[in-house]
């Protein structure tokens, strides 16, 4: 399974971080679009489960935007 914008947005909805993900901008950090740090931890957990990988703490600065998350995941699956 390849990471896509839709899958990332599904994870954000599943985590109940935001009610509407349609307007999210892919290259702006999620923290500037209404996701706090705990919300992101929840999203990362769901993605770890979906993709069967472990995201180390030291890699989190690569996963700040939707594009960053997609690039990171696709390089590791």
């Amino acid at each position: 399974m390849q990471a896509t914008v839709e899958i990332i947005k599904e994870a954000i909805l599943e985590a109940e971080v935001l009610n509407n993900v349609d307007d999210l901008v892919n290259d702006i950090s999620l923290s500037k679009q209404g996701c706090d740090s705990l919300d992101l931890v929840n999203v990362y957990m769901i993605l770890e489960e979906k993709f069967g990988i472990k995201i180390p703490d030291e890699d989190l600065d690569q996963l700040l935007t939707i594009n960053g998350i997609i690039e990171y995941l696709n390089a590791r699956i």
Binding site: E16, L38, V41, N42, Y44, M45, E48, E49, D57
Partner: protein, 307 residues
Amino acid sequence: MLSIKAIAGYVPSQRISNREKMSKFDLNDDFIENTIGVIEHARKASDEDTSDLCVSAFANLTQKVEVNVSDIDCCIVVTQNPDYKLPHTSAIVHKKLGLAKNCACFDISLGCSGYIYGLSTIMAFMQSNNLKNGLLFTADPYSKIIDEEDKNTALIFGDGATVTLINDEGNWQATGYDFGTDGNGYQDLICTDKLFMNGRSVFTFAASVIPSHIKNLMAKYSFEDIDIDKYILHQGSKYIVDTIRKRLKVDERKVPFVMYNYGNTVSSSIPLILEQELQNSDNKRLIATGFGVGLSWASVILEKIER
């Protein structure tokens, strides 16, 4: 048949307000109430030690049921913050309560899963040794090890203690257990000098392991959600309890969250809720689940005995 006769809790009266820490940690009301779910946390007096918390819980127990200390033949204390490195705190409680010399005493070193492990241990120990009246204490005052400058831990934990009286006269029976450990996470919640918690790792563990653990327990005993009146989850934080509840897909009314005014009391969080819920006549079957330091987790099914 051994059963839970009564539970009594003790929460020290002193409170530390998280609202007074808003500027220090850049907090807001929504975060305090809806994310961590701790408006204020209980703090023991400086001259109050772990064994004293147990003694105060026992004093509250004697307000509920008659207890003859000479009849107590088993006393267990669940703690990782004992009075001393040695002896075991249960021996100090033994002295302070004036328990009999034929009373078996030992401690169990576990954190937030400790009540469930303790309940299984005391039941099995009493059963195998034909003991009649046991006291299971929980008392883990994290104020001894909190770094007040660490936002990850300084806002959450509260001091408290409980005691559960076990004998054959109670109305609640433990009918099933399930246990687990992932030692790979032992460094995620650890105390060398002060408490350290990797919040992300602990959250991920709780949110990913606990829902499937509870579902597996229910499947093991052929229970569905309709068979369970309440799920008593360890009160790690509101965000953790809410996340587990949502992943279990159970009604919010079936998952109590009560620690707003005293905080996460570690192994005491579950019995503090059970103290109320076992009195609720609507409850016939409960699942209680503890999880935390270790990483360790455990669940018990409690069923009301119709006498």
